[in-house]
């Protein structure tokens, strides 16, 4: 299966979030630290965590993908915990297009699919706004054409 990747802007946004998430605690450490050793230890720990998180996030970014096949949508995601979901168009109940503040700043949106099964978890983040809307419309029309009763 050929997968469409998520936008590189999403990776940029995630990196910003990561930098903020680890940078702010680092600053707090700097302000509150009592001695050089504690400061150095905390900074090293934070840096280590940041590097690990950065690699995991990069892996997630590289693996996250979706494919619109003839009858179903395939979503692949996760780096440490790898998931793949296959959702037939006819089974979609509704489609969410969401955009958080960071995503909005980068002009991105997240598309989420819901079926009648709560366990279905097809989620595609980091789509450019126009692409997200195109995907939503395409999924809706495909779903209507193939809809079957529960």
């Amino acid at each position: 299966v050929e997968f469409n990747r998520v936008s590189p802007k999403w990776w940029l946004a995630r990196q910003c979030e990561l930098a903020a998430g680890y940078g702010i605690p680092l600053v707090i450490c700097l302000v509150l630290s009592m001695s050089y050793t504690v400061l150095l230890l905390a900074a090293a720990l934070l840096l280590l965590l940041f590097v690990i998180a950065w690699f995991v996030e990069r892996g997630r970014y590289r693996r996250w993908g979706y494919a619109e096949r003839a009858e179903d949508l395939v979503v692949r995601r996760g780096y440490l915990f790898q998931h793949m979901s296959i959702v037939p168009y006819g089974r979609m109940q509704f489609i969410d297009v969401k955009a958080g503040p960071v995503e909005r700043a980068f002009g991105l949106a997240t598309v989420q699919l819901h079926t009648a099964a709560a366990a279905s978890d097809a989620l595609i983040p980091g789509l450019p706004r126009a692409e997200a809307e195109r995907l939503r419309d395409r999924l809706t029309t495909a779903g209507e054409a193939r809809a079957t009763g529960i």
Binding site: Q82, R91, A118, I150
Partner: protein, 442 residues
Amino acid sequence: MNGEWQRLSPLSPVVRVGGAMTAVIIVGLGQLGRSGGGSPLAFTLVWITALILGVVSGFVSWLVTRWRISGSDLQIETGLIRRQSLRIPLERIQAVDVVAPMVARLLGLAEVRVVSAGGGVERSRLAYLGAAHANEVRAQLLALAHGLEPTSAPPAHYPLYQVDNARLIVGMLLRSPALPFLVIAAFGVAFAVAVPERAADAVTFFALAISAFIGLVLRPVNADWDFSLSESLDGFRLDRGLLQTRHETIPFGRIQAVRVWQPLIWRALGWYAVGVDVARQKVATRADSEAQQVARWLVPVANRAQVDWVLTRALPGAALDPVPGSKPPPRAFWVIPFTVRNAAAWFDDKYLFARTGRVALRTTIVPHNKVQSVRLRRGPWLRAFGLSDLYADAAGPQRAGGTVRGLARDVRQAEEFAWAWTELARERRRDPHRVLGQIQPT
């Protein structure tokens, strides 16, 4: 067809406040019986006021509630100050129940509950109608839900299976959640014997454990007493209950998943329980226990022959035993050490099957045409062994167990299965749905 607006039974306020009234009366009698416990007159006044308020509010709610079957909808209007108008499209109906709590039964009344795919059972109920009328309404609703002419006569039905009450009691006694309390009670007795000077404590302890045990056993026995399963043109009918009787209908083609369950001790006896999942979109809230009633026991306890018989009616052609090659590879031991002996996943051209469980065995069967999505999931530990978990979801909340779980399969096989399941689900969805069952009396 446009039906006339109808009211609920005028006795329904009595049933509604009946439960609360009984409590008030019991408390009141206790209070009166106690000599010198405050002024009896004042208490009686309070008591009578409460009674009148209860009756009046019940009467007003009865007065402002009306319902009718109009076109392809069931309409219910209610509320004095905040009018509520509810329309339930009949083709969305998943199941129709007739429930009679004890007070209602004494008055010859019953409640009609409509379960629709959108959820929200709470408001889509007609409480209460005369018992005979309730059955007619149920038959009408089901006929309309199937797109047939509404008839007032309930269709003929053939009994499939009846539970022996003795077996029901024994089965519930031996079921796993109840047993630990028996062990605790035995521990209490042993303690009383060993330390006679603290016997009083031990007796309290014993009493608590025993009452918990009896509660765990009595509840299902009460609910499933005189359980009988029958099949009629519109679906399966379940009739059960000791104090509160229930008559439930599960239309054909609405069964999302069938679960066959075998607690530890039942395995030695060769007994099974069979549950079905009927669609609902979202669990409303945890407190909405009515919504959870939608997952039902088709069979509370039965032996293998009976289970096979019921399965041939519910899912024709489904075989319960794993086929060769359905087990995960031996290296799955390192990932699921306790489940690996029991885990299995397999499929044929109509159904998906998966069995899991450490001590209790659970087999989930989902027809291909009910599969909502297929998922693969592999964490780092699974990947280290070249394994992958495989799921196929049927409609319903995550916890209901409508998901077929193929645990720790070989990665390549899991992927093959996933594509095969998707393909089969696509083909089966095109098949005509089985709406009306063919009755074959035996």
